[in-house]
């Protein structure tokens, strides 16, 4: 067969594979994380220390899904850094020291490792500090996961929204929807693929039914609709996503035919 013929076969086979894989697997293998933009707005020529400082910032981020740009903007009072996701401002920093930990944090490393290592998803429970509220939601989550056949391949992590070490991460999570910062309720985020975060369940929405629906989404056959319009947003992260191990969803579905989406 001519090489072009093989190419067609391989591409067709690949496409075919993509259409029968599960959402979690397809997104992990095929949907690179969206890039953030970190912009440094300044009014004119940059002094050497700032240039050095920006070069250092730039040098530190190649692993992350982040683009750094220096932008001349004359109508500002003072220089600042700003973090954008798809043209939307996520945060503004007046000082480069505030950027420490922007692209990496312990929790993100842990989550990325779980996603790389065959977990279907990571459920992140963002707590409020109100123990009564937080406990109530956590009980529902634990109960639901323990009853789910997929429970073993789902990692549950808990994050205090005020954790200083994870402030950037928490800020990104609270930007998944515009009004989340104003809501003081525990939230449950589904994280999958290459650190893609779904819109959260929150408050009374953290119910067994809604958690099961979220799991259903990860375990469903991947459709063109999902490929074209992937829900949720990407998080900043330094993972390379090289050779990930997708979750073995089919094995569980084979063992539990009642879970098939029909």
């Amino acid at each position: 067969m001519k090489s072009s013929g093989w190419k067609i076969v391989i591409v067709a086979a690949w496409i075919s594979l993509a259409c029968t894989t599960k959402v979690s697997e397809w997104v992990l293998l095929n949907a690179p994380a969206d890039r953030y933009l970190l912009a440094y707005f300044h009014q004119g020529a940059l002094p050497d220390p700032v240039l050095r400082q920006n070069r250092e910032i730039e040098a530190k981020i190649p692993q992350a899904n982040l683009l750094f740009k220096q932008v001349l903007k004359k109508d500002i009072d003072r220089p600042y850094y700003a973090l954008y996701y798809k043209n939307r401002l996520f945060a503004r920093y007046d000082d480069s020291r505030a950027l420490a930990g922007l692209t990496s944090s312990p929790m993100r490393k842990k989550i990325a490792a779980e996603l790389m290592d065959g977990q279907l998803c990571v459920l992140l429970y963002l707590t409020t500090g109100n123990s009564v509220k937080d406990m109530k939601g956590m009980e529902v989550i634990r109960k639901t996961l323990s009853a789910s056949p997929f429970g073993k391949i789902i990692t549950l992590v808990e994050l205090d929204r005020n954790d200083p070490e994870e402030q950037h991460f928490a800020n990104m999570l609270l930007n998944v929807e515009e009004d989340l910062k104003t809501i003081s309720e525990p939230m449950l985020f589904g994280i999958f693929g290459q650190f893609r975060v779904l819109e959260p369940l929150l408050s009374k929405g953290i119910s067994g039914e809604n958690i099961r629906l979220m799991i259903d989404f990860f375990t469903a056959d991947c459709s063109c609709v999902i490929k074209d319009d992937l829900p949720g947003i990407s998080m900043l992260c330094e993972e390379t996503w090289k050779d990930p191990v997708p979750a073995r969803v089919n094995k569980i579905l084979d063992e539990n035919p009642q879970l098939m989406h029909r």
């Binding site: 072009s4 067609i8 515009e178 959260p200 369940l201 408050s203 009374k204 809604n210 319009d229």
Partner: protein
Amino acid sequence: MICSKKTPLRKHQLHVRRITPVDYSDQALFNNFQKYDLIGIYIIGCKIPEYCYFWFFGKISVFNDGIPGDEGLNKTYFMKIQLVLLFIIFFLNSQSQQHDWPMWRYDHHRSAYTPEQLADTLYLQWQAEFDARTPVWDDPLNQNLMPFDRIFEPVVAGNRIFLGFNDKDKVVALDLQTGKELWHFYTDGPLRLPMAVNRGKLYFTGDDGFCYCLQASDGSLVWKRMLAPSANKLLGNKRFISMWPARGGIVIKDDILYTAAGIFPLMGTFIYALNAETGEIIWKNEGTGSNYILQPHRSPAFADVAPQGPFTISGNKLLVAGGRSVPAAFDLRTGEELYYQLAASGKTGGAFTCANDLVFFNHHRERMTCMYDSENGNLLSANSGEYPVVDGNVVYFSGKAITGAKIQPGKKAETLWKANVSATNDLIRAGDDLYAADSSGITALRLVAGSPPVVKWRYPLDKNVVRLLAANGRLIAVTGDGAILVFGDSPVSKPMVFPRQKPRILKSTAKAGRIVRNTGVREGYGLLLGGDISLIEGLLATTSLNLIVYDKDSARIKSLREYFDRAGVPAERAGFLHFGRELPLLPKYFSSLTIVSDLTCTGSGNSSIPEELLSAARPYDGKIIIMAKGKEKEEALKRFSSAGFEDFTVAEGNDYCLFARTGPLKGSSPWTHNYGNIANTVKSDDELVKAPLGILWFGGSSNLDVLPRHGHGPGEQVIDGRLIIQGINSLSARDVYTGRVLWKREFKRLMDDSWLVYYNETYDEENPLDPKYNQVHMPGANARGTNFIATKEYVYLIEGNRCNLIDIKTGETARVFETGDDSTKELGYIGVYDDLLILGNNFAEYTGMENDSIRLKNPLFTDYNLTASRELLVMDRFTGKMLWRMNANHGFIHNSVIAGDGKLFCLDKLPQYLETKLRRRGDEPPVGSRLLYLDARTGNIIHQETKDVFGTWLGYSAEHQLLLQATRPSRDMLNGEEGKRMIAYDVVTKNKIWDKEIKYANPPILHNDKIYTNGEAFHLLSGDPLMEKDPVTGEELKWSFKREYGCGIVSASEHLLSFRSASAGFVNLESMEGTGSLGGWKAGCSTNLIAADGVLNSPDYTRTCQCPYQNQTSLALIHMPWMAYWTNSNYTWNGSPVQKLGLNFNAPGDRVSSDNVLWLEYPFTAGTPPGIPVKMDTAGFRKFRKEPFMISSEETPWVSASALEGIRSLQVTLSKEVTVPEAFFTIRLYFAEPENKKPGERVFDIFLQDRKVSAGFDIAGEAGQSGREVIKTYHGIPAGKTLKLDLQPLKGNTLICGIEILRETPLSTIETDK
């Protein structure tokens, strides 16, 4: 190069070519090259015309009759010849710089470089004016990509200049010196491609499917070869032409002519190398058009190159112009396709190609080219420069300035110089000069070694010169408005001007008037049998009919052509064709008026001509009038009435009988609303559209009056033979059966209404040639729904706060309905049910819901307010009387407002995304969400569901009185419209029948008792997945199909699912054979491939698309039983015992036979390999493929059209199970001789399971001819895990087309072929 005594050689012509750096002293090597390579310097003798002298590397051989000269020629003779040669050179010296311009851009490289050295100063000699050309394609992009007939493209030989006419269907020879017409020659169709001259003969192709060879001297026909596989006709680009128009622009090298017919891979393409002298076929490539290759968007379909444009030769490769794409390369000697970089080349390509022997330049946009490696077609440099002149490795690019460049050994172009002289229209090199043309005139520049050229002559012109040629002492300039200007070296006091011909006023005649009165037909296409000149003139004078006239007398045809040509009647209005022994296959349904004035043209006795004429009559208003009296009339009535057509009425007059096809085609059905009907079934009930499909018409209506594709405007609607489609600010109606534009109407507010709904600022109307010309994806009508409805009487169009009633026959506004409500700002929804007009009054406002996460997404995909209306109004659709109105609690979602069985159903609720969001946050959707059953006439609530109210979609099955509640997931749909659940209600009992979590894409198609979605199917009455039998093992298998890239939805008719799948695509619902391609164009992004009125309608809804799909055009297809098609079954074998299976050797794809056997192509190339192990041992292995159309077979020409030669042994695994009991099989072997082998030339023994079952099998001997199918059947062949076939050659090589394996039940005894 072969010369012959029989070849008349032109006088006084010295033809110099570059010496090929090959040592041709070796005779054997020479013999190998003699047919193909032009060697050294050759002189076509003036004194000894019967000889050709070849001089290679100091040695001369004499050839006579094409036979290489005797190496033992004695020295004296040899010297004599040299002396003669020197004498000839001396004799010719004074005229030695004269050269023809024998092909488009001079030669087979299309180099635009001639050695002709023109005088330093040139003077206008004469000027001939003709009508400006009307190019074949209608829109600016197509015209830029395929400019081959936008202007005259003359060629010159000796003292003659030749022009091809696409509007008069003729070739004209003018005297190069005087401009006077010497002769003209009429063809049977438009001439669109440049011609070529070789050895005193003129060659050209036409849309009539023929290649012609004329004597250049007097225009007499030397030979004529039909390149099309048959004489079948269709309407193409508004003309009555061959189904396979010959648009392979002829290129000639070494007396071999290369051309092609067929521009749609679906229909088959035929690429030829012909002996220019005789027209005999040297090779023919067919079947390549069906190759399964990556299309633009890197998604595969059965669609290879569609030859359209001037062919070019680069080295040993024939570059076949791919119309809108890069060219494909074929082996010049064998015709084998070498590469076609369609997908890899991205959004570039076009019919223009020029080359040297190593690289070629191909069109990009405007006049820009990209440079490619001829070896493999890989891009060497993008935007290399504008159309260049190619002189070996030196290239002169045209443009605002002229650039000289050299192609370095690494195939990189290095700029040498730049001259600030404008060559924006054309640039050629003649001798040592460049000639440049732009809108201000012509400039000649003298080339200077190592420096920019120097202007030596300038001729200002107020005409726009767009093409230049230099030949035989003349400079020829062609203008954009149809004039030919010829310059020479001597001043002329008053250049002769041949003015443009003025059309004569035609006279009406009594005969024509009577026919028009009796039939009432004044427009459309007319077919006349019998060339009555006064009738024709009268019809042309009093109607707008386009006439196709057949007559048995070829002399009369010639005189009719002359008469109406002189009268200035274009061939589009009146085409004249000779009626030979029978009519060709006419396009169905095309004729609005058929006039039989010569009864002998209808044949006699059992002739099928009456049947064909009846088939060709247009449904709804087609008339056939037979001019006859007395017994002849009675006879005609009898014959036409007995042809078996029930849908005609008959009337009689004194001297005529009239057959009228006033109604629809039996079994056809309309398509209205956005989803087929008011019930949202997404299905037409049309039973006529089914596989195989072939093209009924193409071209004639472009995408210029259609919304940009990615805005997902409302789909077209089809009713009573009219297709209604929306433009930016207009609606137009087109004839379903011919593509003719019936009317177009503009509306003031429509553009505003559509802004940010069906298009936005990313649509750049002004720059269709800019590769950024685009329209971003928007949900459009997917979310908002349609804004017009076509009915038999009116097109209802909502425009602002009014509803226009547009007469569907004329396009005139008949009435305007208003709501009577001052608060009405805009009407949102529109639907028609029986005599009711349903309107949505004002868009819904989902206040307070927008201010959240949806802003993160593309706002175009979150405008939920457009999806629903605040109020429903129902009025009498004829009077406008308001019958009832109802306010929504939240919003009546447009995609859910449907009707059936006297009821109107709708969802009054939040959009799905907002409901989901509330649930994520633990909130219940606000109260008031409901699924309503209303009395359609009164608005009374019959029933309402308030529980389980979800989704955005309702569909109604009248057959099962079942209401389906769902969402509407598809590409380019609002956020949140995932397909996750369906509920079916019994409308009579109001009970839920089933409620299932079902993952699906596509609006659910209600197809009798099934639901089809994108790739899957479910039982309507249970929601269970549809199961079918595995075609190979007979086991249960989930029904599915795979769809390649495409953003429109799947729509259905009775026998077909249609959709875009890379190209246009379909699923044949009659068998489980996977996804088929309709190769050769891409369907649009809206609901676009619509089966209705007996036709698969595919209006060009791809505006703003610049991808190089083979064609970008409107077209329509109908069922053609004899047409081939291929599918990608995506079949995967599970290893269970094979029950039945076919292997179709070297076929491009899969297909299921009428006895339900799945035939897989082998070797497996299309789609996923099926996993059936096949072992093959071969010797002298070769592949063959022909178009199935060319094979004589009752059922399976598509099996016997392709073959593998040289198979010695073939082993097919029949089961992967561990223990397999032996069973008995019927084995059928398929054969057809693909070459011209005679009986006895290919003989072999056939063994099955090591037993000889046929001895001395001779395909040609048994078939009686090549191309005829022979099937050998063997019953009772025992086999377990494997089946083994051995073919042992006795004479020649083995060959087989296909093997069919059928498990027998019950077991039978073993029989062998005797």
